[in-house]
Symmetry: C2
């Protein structure tokens, strides 16, 4: 178990696939004990998602390290009894069933909070527990599409482009984790738990940043812009001699430094480029000027020079390069866990570094389906 701010807290984890497991993984990384309740025989759907190592899903393993597993059929009275024995000692319940599922089984918030008023009960769902779409199932792709994010991601006029990670699930997992932690603080003050309802679609609206500001203030409908930022310039990827470099000169001073470094000082004084808003207006012209210089050297040479001058810039790393970056190693962002067949398994670590707790380099073992049944029953059902 991790030594963290949530130590001594027990999480009943009724989640599967990504949004819920990502949330309970964070709770585990913060020190909580997580007991994962899985459907008998099938288990978490993601146990069947690739990539696989010796028939074990690396996808499942990367999200469920350090959790305990027990298989329960929550429609059966005897399993429900085991479930309630665990819930009666729990601080937090997290679930991502379709809204109404747990109510149907007599395990909704209203029922459970009557018996366990200190329980914090969090539901993450595609569309939320209210509203006309609440009954509909959703996966990441659906909310990336309906939330507007896909309409601003991609090259101009390209085929539909999703964000290359399941950002619909992940952001909802993060918002749910915030809600749970805020509710823990609240419980210290009030002595009471609460219900937290997070919708993946809502979370997509909450992360639209300048796109939503643009629409709500100007009725503009933003479109995909490749690598370009719509409000800041220069702020995109530029061609170099061998690949691309990202340059993010977010204010006038940085732009001036960039122009001086590239020996095109006159450009930073040109009225067409003198402020961020002028540069945004005239970015096509500015891009030609910058790439004309940048094609003279390789990305690594440019990065080195610009880094010395503290001009924000960088290469576009693939996943291998991103993971092997010494900065990432030094920050303990790749941690180890263990599976009894697969052996040592590496996953992403916890980006929240806290002075009161050591950032552990390992995580608990990866559970097989129902692996901890005996231990859990012995502990909770006496």
């Amino acid at each position: 178990m991790i030594n963290g701010p949530l130590k001594n807290l027990l999480v009943v984890d009724l989640t599967r696939v990504l949004v819920g497991p990502y949330c309970t993984m964070m709770l585990s990384d913060l020190g909580a004990r997580v007991i994962k309740i899985e459907a008998p025989e099938i288990g978490d759907d993601s146990r069947k998602f690739g990539p696989f190592i010796n028939d074990y899903s690396a996808y499942f393993m990367s999200l469920n390290r350090g959790k305990e597993s027990i298989a329960l059929n929550l429609k059966k009275p005897e399993d429900k009894k085991i479930f309630e024995s665990i819930v009666s000692k729990a601080d937090i319940l997290v679930e991502n069933f379709k809204p109404g599922t747990l109510e149907k089984w007599g395990l909704g918030w209203k029922e459970l909070s009557k018996k366990y008023p200190k329980l914090i009960y969090a539901s993450a769902s595609g569309f939320g527990q209210t509203g006309p779409l609440k009954e509909l199932p959703a996966y990441d792709m659906v909310v990336q599409g309906m939330g507007g994010l896909m309409s601003v991601t991609g090259q101009p006029n390209s085929e539909p482009t999703r964000v290359g990670t399941s950002i619909g699930d992940i952001t909802a997992g993060l918002f749910t984790t915030i809600g749970i932690n805020a509710a823990l603080y609240d419980r210290e003050k009030t002595g009471k738990g609460m219900y937290i309802d997070v919708s993946m679609l809502d979370c997509q609206i909450a992360i639209l940043e300048n796109a939503i500001a643009r629409y709500l203030s100007k009725n503009e409908i933003p479109k995909p812009m490749g690598s370009r930022h719509p409000s800041i310039a220069p702020f995109e990827a530029f061609k170099t001699k061998d690949s691309h470099i990202i340059i993010a000169a977010g204010n006038d001073k940085l732009f001036e430094n960039l122009c001086n470094f590239l020996k095109i000082s006159e450009i930073s004084k040109d009225t067409k480029f003198i402020t961020n808003s002028k540069r945004s207006e005239n970015m096509d012209e500015l891009k030609i000027i910058l790439e004309n210089k940048l094609k003279e050297k390789k990305t690594s040479e440019w990065v080195k020079g610009m880094e010395e001058l503290k001009i924000p810039c960088g290469p576009i790393f693939n996943i291998k390069e991103a993971v092997e970056n010494p900065q990432i190693r030094e920050r303990n962002m790749i941690v180890k866990s263990f599976h009894k067949v697969v052996g040592e398994f590496r996953t992403a670590g916890n980006p929240i570094k806290m002075s009161s707790y050591n950032d552990s380099t390992t995580r608990g073992d990866i559970p097989d389906l129902d692996e901890h049944r005996d231990k859990i029953i012995k502990e909770f059902c006496n």
Copy 2:
């Protein structure tokens, strides 16, 4: 002020642009009082980011509604004194300066925590407070590039594609908010504050999902796949008669339902498509079969039919359609705030819905630079 779990808490906000302001906006949405300390004359850089309404930045307004503003030069002794008067009463300090900046001014965590041991002090930075890159500045684009996300986002072989929102800043803002809330809970138990160090680059590693699982388990280097999910199939955008439809059939049962609905039941029994991993292998072939059927009707017709059968699907909405979705209205995801010149201003709401607190339909006013000086000085400097 919002009535929420963080009511009665005071946040000293030394942040600007996006990662920090997004975090303190969340704290404000959860009920905390936020006093934003801005550089005299210049203020938050994002006051100069478009789009503008009557010369006021909608970008700034959307992130800073409900905060109070005072302009202080933290290098000047008289302003430092005002600053410390505020900090002495604060619960949380959030900053996103380049690492070392506040230490240089005598306002680092070590100094302040000696005087105010209950203070929670959170730093969000591009690369974190440690490691070889800690001195370097970063903006969203830089960490999207170096964190690997851009390498898996886009069409196959397309030009570099960023996520259409500043996901580098936003995820780091969310992780910082989680850290602060966990630290608040911890403080209830220990009586002590702590230091929280979040790096935007670390957060990019933490959200890589299947891409990092793929690399760490199989040494595969994933590439952009347009709208396709690399581990789940069918899970992408398909052409219809008039536009595109997203279909996310995440398990065998859903795929069977989809095939039955499209009157191609035989496909779900075909050994090439019978499991998720077989479908992932043979997705190019499957896409041709599905699009051949899907081109017969319009997206809205398909969506209607599939929704009835609870097959996860949806259109690709632009920002206007996303914001005007009745589900989003019903969920109170567009809230109102007020600026004395611009008037009523709409922004994204809080996706964390909590049973113990009403989800307010309004937020506090938008501050001009230094607007609350007199009030703050009167309150804290006596």
